[in-house]
Amino acid sequence: MKITMGAVVMGGTSVLYPTGAWRDQRPVIDHEACKSCDTCRDVCPDSSVFVQEDVYYIDYDFCKGCGLCAYECPVDAIAMILEEK
């Protein structure tokens, strides 16, 4: 990679590196059980839970599969299942 003047890197370029490839466990949200409490989105170190019209989804491009969302979910609406490649 070419070094830029002053080694300055543009902000937000980390999104060009999808950390989802690191995952060996995949969180799956049960939309029936989900109460839209926002806990999973709040606790994700990789900003990989997003919400659209009150429905929560995982951004599998970046989710590393740490399992924090599943552990913290107060109604156990998230299951961690073995990732199959």
Partner: protein
């Protein structure tokens, strides 16, 4: 990709950073920037945060960010604040975010200087209680009896023998307007403290407990559970100080320290034999002393 996933990717601390699975530090930085908003410049000394956020060409930072040496974080932060001031950019504030090794030990002289000069910087220590980026050597912030690579458990000693340095008190003794502790387990409280800190000018200090699954030795989904247990045990007291006086504490219903210690590999030796039980009793005394000192217990009606 839909619009909401795009919104997540536009967060000020964007995904794609290379922190370990379930890293408490990465999560705390995400919430620090939610609280400050984008009118800040961030300064980060060497450590996990610097390393996982700066592989060349891939930056998660959507605010101006600078990495420099391990030992001079506060000095560089002071310099950036002075430069902004000279340019009349009072609208942009400086936040330094450093590990405990650089804050408690290696950059301590620079930190003391920054607080003595009262430069306009919020200094945040993301405290994982050891030098994690280099594999977990002991620091002045490592808790007593934790096993580290530089004081491993063996015949000679049961992990680190010394106390965790009381850095909030040392910083407060410089006359700092605002000093506080927080935990990534309580993110609303963390954000509130960042916002409160930004209401003051001059040098301010926030120390955040950030459990580290990789080196403390617990499963990556337990980061916040471990954080909550630390706070509930009294070993991680959460408080705010203004001009040297404790103004607020987070009350707890105290649990015994073993409930916090047991789930972590770095304390595993404390549960192996009789001698371990004596050491757990000593840690309980330290927790009790914190509970009494800060009036933490919601049951005693103290403070």
């Amino acid at each position: 990709m839909n619009a909401s996933a795009q919104e997540n990717r536009m967060e000020l601390f964007a995904p794609g950073h290379r922190a370990c699975h379930g890293c408490g530090m990465a999560l705390s930085v995400r919430h620090i920037l939610k609280a400050t908003g984008n009118q800040v410049a961030v300064v980060t000394p060497t450590g996990c945060l610097e390393t996982f956020s700066s592989p060349y060409g891939y930056s998660p930072w959507r605010v101006p960010w600078i990495h420099h040496l391990f030992e001079n974080g506060p000095s560089v932060a002071s310099g950036v604040a002075a430069a902004l001031d000279a340019q009349g950019r009072g609208d942009v504030r400086v936040v330094a975010i450093g590990g405990d090794g650089s804050t408690f030990d290696i950059g301590f002289a620079a930190l003391s200087g920054m607080f003595e000069r009262d430069d306009d910087v919020l200094y945040i220590c993301v405290d994982n209680g050891a030098y994690m980026n280099t594999g977990g050597q002991r620091s002045g912030a490592t808790p007593t009896y934790a096993s580290t690579t530089t004081d491993p458990v063996g015949k000679l000693r049961p992990g680190k023998l010394q106390h965790k340095k009381d850095l909030p008190a040392i910083v407060a003794a410089h006359g700092a307007a605002y000093v506080a502790t927080a935990s990534v387990a309580y993110r609303k409280d963390l954000q509130k403290k960042v916002k409160r800190a930004m209401e003051f000018h001059g040098a301010r200090y926030l120390q955040i407990d950030t459990p580290c699954p990789s080196v403390w030795g617990f499963p990556s989904d337990h980061t916040l559970e471990v954080g909550r247990l630390g706070v509930a045990s009294g070993l991680v007291p959460l408080f705010e100080m203004e001009y040297g006086n404790v103004t607020k504490v987070r009350k707890i219903k105290p649990i015994t320290v073993d409930k916090y210690l047991r789930g972590q590999k770095r304390f595993r030796h404390l549960f192996a034999d009789e001698q371990g039980a004596e050491l757990v009793a000593k840690l309980q005394q330290m927790a009790d002393a914190n509970i009494a000192k800060y009036g933490l217990s919601s049951q005693s009606g103290g403070q």
